[in-house]
């Protein structure tokens, strides 16, 4: 296997297949559908690496990220959604997910 994630971010490897998600709509949906324990584990692993990940990724042109970097980018973008559950909503998440469902994302600058 070639490198799944850039050096320094190996700790996120177990989460890559479920949390490296392309597109805002799919990322928002995964946040709501996810197994709560899995989501919490992803947040616990990814949140402390957010700053380092973006600092690393900012060194490459955004539209030509190597596959490992792209994976990391997609994970951080999913983290943006997931952090709202884990940091802000807590046990309000299940009721909230039902309401969020009505807010259809139709456009985001990098592709919905």
């Amino acid at each position: 296997m070639t490198t799944l994630l850039p050096t320094g971010f190996e700790a996120l490897a177990p989460f890559a297949d479920r949390w490296a998600i392309d597109g805002s709509i799919a990322r928002a949906a995964r946040r709501g559908d996810a197994d709560p324990a899995d989501r919490a584990a992803f947040f616990a692993a990814a949140a402390p690496l957010l700053d380092a990940a973006l600092t690393h990724l900012d060194r490459s042109p955004i539209d030509a990220l190597p596959p490992a970097e792209q994976r990391l980018m997609d994970m951080m973008l999913t983290l943006a959604h997931v952090s709202l559950t884990e940091e802000i909503l807590g046990d309000q998440e299940p009721a909230h997910a039902r309401q969020r469902h009505h807010m259809r994302i139709t456009r985001s600058p990098a592709g919905a």
Binding site: A28, A47, A80, Q92, H102, M103
Partner: protein, 397 residues
Amino acid sequence: MSDDSLAWLGTAPIPAAPYHDPAWFDLEREAVFRRSWLQLGHVCELPDSGSFIRREIEALNVSLLIVRGRDGEIRAFHNVCTHRGTQLVEEESGRCGTFSCPYHRWSFGTDGALLAAPDFDRFFVDKADCALPRVALDICGGLIFVHLGTPDKGLRDDLGPYATMLDGFPAAQATTFSEYVYEIDANWKLTYDNFQENYHLRFIHPRSGAPAVGEDNPFGYPVKMGFHGPHRTQTIWTNPDPAPKPVQAQSFGRAARFAMADGTAGPHSRDYLALFPNFFILGSPAQPFSHTVWPIDARRSRGVIRLYWKGKDDCASRRYAREYAMASARDIHAEDRDVIEAGQRGLNSGALKHIHFQAQEALCRHLFNAVDERVQAYRAERASATPPPVSRAEAMA
């Protein structure tokens, strides 16, 4: 803001019927929506000559085609072929040199002129009289407004001091945006009002809205309100002692740094404008969103929320900051929808003859007053206009 300084808005209970009655809504269609500047797009959607967007205004059964012409000017037309009325354009947006009707192939230029029609010499009309019906369009702060009637004032005149404010909002410089849309079983005013009062903050947004309330302002009441004609503004209170969570702090911190670098962090970061009838925009540089509530019928609406951004997301941090800003704004908006619908169900029962607004719901009262004024004027106008008898010959002329 003292309660006395709002006395001019009145203090009486507000009739409930305008928030659910179909007959009242029919009056609003004409009195309000056909007679106001309506916000429905942004110049960044029309980057090139021939760029177009189609927009539906269901309350008026109107479909509009908005096009940037060869000359660079942006124009609005009814999306209606002048041959026999077929809707000309089906795509939601695109780029096109000419618009060709699917029915008999009349084709129109980006300026609305009829360019060619098969077998045209067998018609009994001049090409010059077959241009697409034009609709008044004006732009302020990068935002496109249309007027479906005959505007008695230009847009900037109508907005007064708020035109300059709008010029200073981040949307004025935007080149792209994020968007989310919701449908709601609720009257447009009831929906819109939710977003111009903070009385509900601590109950409906106990966690997501925590940064907007504080010990010395538990309801997060605004610092300032202002009014100009049917439009209004508010300045949001800032909690001096916020306790942001780590990811939240990093995310908004990044967004704020980009706004500073881009020059979109203007003087209005805590202000919002509520422009009559159905448009709302916030000047915040980290979450610069607009919200339009489109009526569909008396008890159904659609909200369109956009976060406007300047420049491409040219690096990972910027892309991330935009994703976070959208996700968190969407969370807060999502929390409001259920309770607005519950309000509508209560009103639909007809159990209430009146509803009540407190001083901190002054913006809601102001909207009702502006709508009521227009509806009453329209009623009076209709009552005094005795239609002259129409002969068959005239009707056909």
